[in-house]
């Protein structure tokens, strides 16, 4: 059985420098978006999904764990934030904290259950757990079932930043994204991340070296779920609603697709993948259901011919780590 991701190059000073340059370029590019004519809501939405995909990638790309239920963190955080903001009338920063904490609590419970099995079983369990949550949210009164929670007030972040202004909201979302991204980047380059990669490559060996691999995997799962929840909380301010589509398993599939298109186990792949898929949905919306078919074709094409993804292929071509 071959490893999920391409043999990643060792972290050398050059690799770090490449990644830092790439990060700076990304930050500048995203920073100037409001100055151009690009529709900011599209970019904000893409940023939320990019962070979500990065969180998912932390788990599969570095831990070898394919979670097919990551939408549950997006949806749970969304519902928690939306409910706190709309019904309790809390401030935006508290709304984000509540949503992220909700996703964190969920990831502790689901992680504890799902890491008991590996490989495809892990994927099926996460998928089943997210479907369980879907049915709970469908019936729970506070989610308003099919209608979702609509018309969420945006308010003033820290009492200063007016989130109902698109430009202000954009920079807040961007700051959230960059912060989450750096946290993930720091994690994968830490000793913890190295152990995670060792577990991905050969779990029995990691166990024989004395690592309690279950604890590492659980911690990675919680971290990933929490960051995914953070992305879900940010998305509430962008979309101003929380609905069942965010919890449905097709959303989990889209997160997998974004990461696969960009490149599993690459630092920047999920970001690129998220932008590609969100742009595709935006511009192909007129094709109706054919979008699903196109996504399916991309899935198949990626798995059969293009397993490294966009960034993975570029990095492989230049023999760099990105």
């Amino acid at each position: 059985m071959s490893a999920l991701t391409d043999d990643t190059l060792p972290v050398t000073p050059r690799a770090m420098r490449d990644e830092m340059l790439m990060f700076a370029a990304m930050a500048v590019l995203l920073g100037v978006v409001p100055l151009t004519g690009i529709y900011p809501f599209f970019v904000m939405q893409a940023l939320c999904f990019a962070l979500l995909a990065c969180a998912f990638n932390l788990l599969i790309g570095y831990g070898g764990l394919l979670s097919f239920g990551h939408a549950m963190f997006l949806g749970t955080a969304g519902y928690c934030s939306a409910h706190a903001l709309k019904v309790w009338g809390v401030t935006p920063e508290l709304g984000i904290v509540i949503g992220t904490a909700g996703a964190a609590a969920l990831s502790v419970v689901t992680g504890f259950i799902s890491i008991r099995r590996q490989g495809i079983y892990f994927a099926m369990i996460t998928l089943a757990l997210s479907q369980l949550l879907y049915f709970i949210y469908l019936q729970a009164p506070f989610t308003h079932g099919e209608d979702g929670i609509q018309g969420i007030p945006q308010g003033y972040l820290f009492g200063i930043f007016n989130l109902s202004k698109p430009t202000v909201l954009y920079y807040v979302v961007l700051a959230g994204f960059l912060g989450g991204f750096l946290l993930i980047y720091r994690t994968i380059n830490s000793p913890f991340g190295e152990v995670l990669k060792a577990i991905r490559e050969n779990e029995p060996r990691a166990i024989s070296l004395g690592y309690k691999t279950d604890q590492y995997k659980l911690l990675a799962f919680i971290l990933s779920g929490t960051i995914a929840g953070f992305a879900g909380s940010l998305k509430v301010f962008v979309a101003q609603n929380a609905s069942l589509t965010d919890v449905h398993w097709t959303m989990s599939g889209e997160i997998v697709l974004m990461t696969l298109v960009g490149g599993l186990g690459t630092v920047f792949g999920p970001v690129v993948g998220a932008f590609v898929i969100i742009a595709m949905q935006q511009y192909l919306a007129g094709f109706g259901q054919w979008v699903t078919v196109i996504q399916g074709v991309i899935f198949v094409a990626c798995v059969l011919t293009f397993r490294r993804g966009i960034i993975g292929e570029i990095a492989h071509y230049f023999r760099r780590s990105l």
Partner: protein, 287 residues
């Protein structure tokens, strides 16, 4: 009491579908090491195949029961030959991702042409009506589904566990290289196995067409429940899949009677409990 027996029967019917689908998944997993995410889509194709046969060619239920599984099985074998076989030797998560993509394509195409609403398929005239058993009223078609799928499940079990072909198959699962050295065409066996698993899914689709309406997404939500069934039962044995499938259907039916709010979630809750108490599943070998 009437309602309880009715829910038990519904549970047994759902259990038949769970058993047929998880059995097919187990057979495919055994040979190809792939969790066939497209299983739900192929189940749906089976139902649509019966629908087309009736409405375009005028071919009724009984021939469809044979033609649809063969047709969809051949389609499955084409998929295996053109795509799935290239994943041999890779991490089996890629198989899951590829078949997920296939499921999206198949379901998307059907949704484009048939929307999301259901198409009716009449119960064949021989199986219409019902019987009064004294304690409950049994619609004949429903009784037929339970008995017929039980027979098919046991026949599949017999084929794999008790015949020479099945012995070769199990041997090829354990050690393909060695079995090849005995002059057995392993790639062809893999293709046929995939066809068999897919055929079982399509058969379940035909059986369900007169009960549930024929819809493009009929398999999409079902497959996730079947995954939970697989996690609960483990895929270690063929008989395990059959028993777990039927048992969970019945438990679901009982829940619908005693506490309907939980009927959608009971299988997942059971999955959580089993994972906490017995992580390898009820009949499964440790993964």
């Amino acid at each position: 009491m009437q309602a309880l027996y009715a829910q038990l029967l519904v549970g047994l019917i759902n259990g038949s579908f769970y058993a047929l689908l998880s059995l097919g998944l187990a057979v495919i997993f055994g040979m190809l090491n792939i969790i066939n995410f497209a299983h739900g889509a192929l189940y749906m194709m089976g139902a649509f195949c019966a629908y087309f046969l009736l409405n375009i060619a005028g071919i009724g239920y009984w021939p469809a029961l044979i033609i649809a599984p063969i047709a969809v099985g051949i389609f499955g074998m084409i998929l295996e030959r053109t795509m799935l076989q290239w994943l041999a030797g890779l991490d089996h998560l890629y198989g899951l991702l590829l078949t997920f993509g296939l499921a999206l394509i198949i379901q998307g195409i059907f949704q484009n042409y048939f929307g999301s609403s259901g198409l009716p398929y009449a119960i064949p005239s021989e199986l219409q009506g019902g019987m009064n058993l004294g304690f409950m009223f049994l619609p004949i078609y429903r009784g037929w589904v339970v008995v017929f799928s039980l027979v098919v499940c046991l026949a599949t079990w017999f084929l794999i566990e008790k015949t020479r072909l099945g012995a070769n198959l199990r041997a090829a699962t354990e050690n393909p290289t060695l079995v090849r050295a005995f002059g057995i065409n392993v790639p062809r066996m893999i293709t046929l196995t995939y066809g068999l698993g897919v055929g079982l899914a399509a058969l379940a689709g035909v059986l369900s067409a007169p009960i549930n309406q024929v819809r493009p997404l009929m398999g999409a939500d079902l497959i996730i429940v079947v995954f939970a069934v697989v996690v609960i039962g483990g895929m270690g044995s063929i008989m395990g899949s059959i028993i777990t499938g039927f048992a969970l259907g019945v438990i679901e039916g009982l829940t619908k009677y005693f506490y309907p709010e939980a009927s959608n979630t009971v299988v997942f809750v059971l999955m959580v409990l089993v994972l906490l108490l017995k992580p390898a599943g009820l009949t499964g070998r440790a993964a």
